[in-house]
């Protein structure tokens, strides 16, 4: 689907610690999400699309508030995709004046952590090839551009399918690198959260 998060240096009228992140809490959050997405993204989604996501995977949707105002949101799903348990980021929006402050990164990181804990093997999403902000954001999180999708959007623009592969048990990879020691493999601060797929 889409995301509007491009990192723009904006003069902040707020401190990052002023931002409050809340997990999707029920029907009262729905109009806030719809409002943000309708305002910022081009595709018209019916209310069924929103409900499809937030009712089935409420734990994967988050909202960001600043002084009581909803200024960003992320909507996701997860499930089996051709034998792989996969997370999918459907919508990610941060209002323009609040961009470039790491709010989108924080929102999406929260969702990805839940996906990882839930046993997802990978996370995917689509982004317009011209959306440099989103591409940079996801690149920093370890996503690669796995595919280019020709004329993906109705406006004729191509999309990238971005993919994040989570580390898996040693047996998955054909070589025995892990025994040789790979310092970066398995981040310490994530180890507590990390439950490889059984």
């Amino acid at each position: 689907m889409e995301s509007k998060v491009e990192e723009e240096a904006s003069k902040s009228m707020f401190e990052c610690c002023d931002i409050e992140y809340i997990s999707y809490g029920g029907e009262h959050h729905l109009p806030l999400i719809m409002d943000l997405v309708d305002k910022e993204l081009s595709e018209p989604y019916s209310i069924f699309t929103y409900r499809y996501f937030v009712y089935l995977w409420p734990q994967l949707s988050f909202l960001a508030f600043h002084q009581g105002k909803c200024i960003g949101t992320v909507v996701c799903k997860m499930g089996d995709h051709r034998g792989t348990f996969r997370g999918y980021i459907a919508m990610l929006v941060v209002l323009k004046p609040y961009r470039g402050k790491g709010i989108a990164t924080e929102l999406v990181t929260r969702s990805i952590k839940v996906m990882m804990e839930s046993g997802c093997e990978e996370v995917t999403l689509e982004a317009e090839v011209t959306n440099k902000g989103a591409l940079a954001l996801y690149g920093r999180l370890g996503f690669i551009r796995a595919k280019r999708l020709f004329h993906y959007y109705l406006n004729g623009v191509d999309a990238f399918r971005l993919k994040l592969l989570f580390p898996r048990p040693e047996s998955y990879f054909p070589d025995s690198l892990m025994t040789e020691g790979e310092p970066n493999y398995g981040h310490e601060h994530l180890e507590d959260d990390y439950h490889p797929l059984s």
Binding site: S46, F48, Y52, I144, R145, K147
Partner: protein, 719 residues
């Protein structure tokens, strides 16, 4: 959430499509459900959720935005009058506007929008019979429709992939009308009439006109010549463009020469259309308004009559209608110019059955990013009736590609099931490399595995057919020769596919700069294997040629004396050096300056490696090459050592030596020149980094692709 199962008669007899009144069911559902609750059924997935429309929401309800309920209503309301005007000058002006707008629609259709929303937004085209009293418009509409039909049938035959299938969706439009096959003779008759009117307008005396009994095109004598000419180039463009398409579809490339001639005419008619643009602008009926001239869909700048893009909105359901932006008339002309040039390149193909040359041709052709139409016609030419160009048996092509003697082409092994499969695999490879590069790369990644499997299957099949291969290593034996040559060629081609897969990643911008190091390393290992297999093929073929009529002693002496690496292998060697040099330079920069690396929060370089090269790894391309091999080589890289063993210098040296070998091959000559530049610049950059790197922490290194599409050059700047 409540789980409700729908048990209506509709689901039980879906195939017979019986309509049932569901009002009461809906009523009870409404009473049962509270706000926000959804009916859950197994088939209500994301697609279903997204396809659901909110009635009366203008963003989604396709029925809500439209001017007329039907084509008939539009006609009744005078949206598409015939004649276009009672004033004959205005009638001609409006006819030209319709032609121009149709060309803009047509180009927009080719560029990925639906026929329904573009060409068939023309009411005249939806009801061509209404225009029969207006020969000019009538013949133009007919040939337009026939052209659309021709293109759709060509694209359908090549089985357009799902990404571009919108092109062939016709949504039940009236695409084939009775008598469309006569469109060319109608066009010819109209051309004749307008030509006579033009001749009459040019003749000094009006007496002649009376004598010849020619009614002028329109009422303003001063403008007669201009309008005649503006009309003629438009009519002729259509005629020749239609000819181009039909000629290119003749079997076995027999129409290519005439298609080439029609292309030249089309291009000159396009020039004339541009030449008469100013005239139409000055003499339009809608006044001079230069605002937004650049996005106008007609040469005159006037809005055309007879178009309504909302008329068919219900035809394209269930997709909600989105307003599309048509290309401007100028952009459309440019588009057709580019398309015709691409088609011209196809017509120049010599129908060479040597696979290597053909693969090079296609790769080179794809560099200009040809659109769906051009790629469709290339594929139609290449593959007809399961043969290359409709005339070369695939087994013959395989034999030639494997450098086997002609006698092999008659060998009964070609009827072996696995050999037949190999032929099919080759045909599908050709189709894939004719596709758009995004889809092409995905497919190439997938078929790597198939090529590995066919190699194993063929080895077994040969063994079954000819016995143990190792005992008949004697190259004189035709059977063993077929086995060895074909198996080696399959490996060579598999590595070629692998290298194409990796390099297309640059075209598609799939790699970020932190990934360049591993990408170049992978290109390096694949190219080494490719060079090895190519070399083996060439040695074995040149040896068997030499053996003819020579004694063993002479042979050995000659082999040592004449030995020279074939130029195509040296060119690969050149690329190998550049890839190696880039790998080591990037690795050294990373090791010493901590640049070009991106440790992520959730995964490591290992996962990135596996995602990018998983398909190659799965197909064991190459054998025994893993992430650990990459780490082993790159973790040791340091600036002082790579400066001493400078791969870029080796690349430059070979490139210089090779120049004379490719003097008759402009494409490879160009590649050589680019490689040489990349090597030279990287050599300089490497020296600068080595000299100043340690001392100057402000030194900033980044990579650019301005000399070669795949091989980057390092740019060194002070930050």
């Amino acid at each position: 959430m409540e789980e409700t199962t729908l048990n209506s008669p509709i689901t039980s007899c879906a195939n017979q499509a019986v309509y049932t009144d569901v009002s009461s069911l809906l009523q009870s559902a409404c009473e049962d459900l509270r706000e926000g609750e959804l009916i859950h059924a197994e088939n209500f997935n994301l697609f279903a959720a997204m396809s659901a429309l909110e009635i009366m929401d203008p963003k989604m309800d396709s029925g809500i935005i439209r001017t007329y309920f039907s084509v008939d209503e539009a006609i009744e309301n005078g949206a598409a009058p015939v004649p276009l005007s009672l004033d004959r000058t205005t009638d001609v002006q409006r006819t030209i506007d319709i032609m121009d707008h149709l060309v803009a629609c047509e180009a927009t259709w080719h560029n990925g929008h639906s026929l329904v929303q573009t060409v068939f937004s023309c009411i005249y085209l939806l009801r061509t019979e209404r225009t029969s009293s207006h020969p000019i418009l009538h013949s133009y509409c007919r040939v337009m429709r026939a052209t659309c039909h021709e293109l759709i049938s060509a694209a359908t035959e090549t089985q357009t992939n799902e990404e571009e299938d919108i092109f062939t969706m016709t949504h039940g439009l009236p695409l084939k009308g009775d008598g469309d096959d006569k469109c060319l003779s109608m066009l010819h008759a109209v051309d004749e009439t307008v030509s006579r009117q033009l001749r009459a307008a040019r003749s000094p005396s009006s007496k002649k006109r009376i004598l010849e009994d020619i009614e002028p095109l329109q009422s303003n004598i001063d403008l007669e010549e201009g309008f005649c000419k503006a009309l003629l180039c438009r009519l002729r463009f259509r005629k020749h463009f239609y000819h181009v398409l039909t000629c290119m579809r003749r079997p076995q490339g027999k129409g290519l020469e005439s298609a080439g001639k029609h292309i030249v005419t089309c291009l000159s008619e396009l020039d004339l259309m541009l030449k008469w643009e100013e005239f139409l602008k000055l003499n339009n009926f809608c006044g001079t308004d230069d605002n937004g001239r650049e996005c106008k869909t007609t040469a005159s700048g006037c809005q055309p009559v007879g178009f309504d893009s909302t008329l068919n909105s219900r035809l394209s359901a269930p997709t909600p209608p989105r307003a599309i932006k048509l290309l401007s008339w100028k952009q459309a002309i440019e588009y057709f110019r580019k398309l015709l040039r691409d088609l011209e390149v196809i017509c120049s193909l010599t129908l060479d059955p040597i696979l290597d040359n053909l693969l090079h041709f296609i790769v080179d052709f794809q560099k200009s990013r040809p659109d769906l139409v051009a790629r469709t016609y290339l594929q139609l030419l290449l593959i007809q009736d399961g043969k290359l160009y409709g005339r070369n048996c695939i087994f013959d092509v395989v034999c030639m590609a494997s450098q086997l003697p002609d006698s092999a082409k008659r060998h009964s092994i070609q009827n072996n099931e696995v050999v037949v499969q190999l032929g099919q695999l080759l045909l599908s490879l050709l189709k894939i490399i004719c596709a758009n590069t995004a889809w092409q790369r995905r497919k190439l990644g997938k078929i790597l595995q198939d090529w590995r499997i066919i190699h194993v299957q063929l080895e077994l099949a040969f063994r079954k057919e000819f016995g143990d291969l190792s005992s008949t290593l004697d190259d004189e034996n035709l059977c063993s020769k077929i086995c060895i040559h074909i198996l080696n060629w399959i490996e060579e081609l598999t590595y070629w596919i692998g290298s194409r897969f990796l390099m297309l990643g640059f075209d598609l911008e799939l790699y970020s700069s932190s990934e360049y190091c591993m990408v170049y390393w992978y290109i390096y290992v694949i190219l080494i294997k490719l060079a090895e297999k190519t070399h083996l093929k060439m040695i074995s073929s040149s040896e068997s040629n030499r053996r003819k009529g020579k004694k063993k002693k002479e042979l050995l002496r000659d082999t040592l004396k004449d030995y020279r690496v074939p130029p195509s292998v040296s060119l690969l060697q050149c690329q190998i050096y550049v890839a190696e040099g880039l790998t080591l330079m990037l690795a050294a920069l990373r090791n010493e300056k901590q640049t070009f690396q991106d440790p992520g929060l959730f995964n490591s370089e290992h996962e990135i490696f596996m995602q990018h090269f998983g398909l190659l790894q799965k197909a064991c391309l190459p054998d025994h090459v893993f992430y650990s091999s990459f780490k082993e080589i790159t973790s040791q890289a340091s600036l002082p050592t790579i400066a001493m063993y400078n791969c870029f210098k080796d690349a430059q040296r070979i490139a210089k030596e090779l120049r004379s070998s490719f003097s008759t091959d402009p494409v490879r000559m160009e590649e050589l020149r680019r490689i040489e530049q990349v090597a030279e610049r990287n050599d300089v950059a490497l020296n600068v980094i080595c000299r100043l790197g340690k001392l100057d922490p402000s030194l900033n290194v980044y990579f650019e692709f301005n000399h070669h599409p795949y091989f980057a050059i390092a740019v060194v700047k002070r930050s």
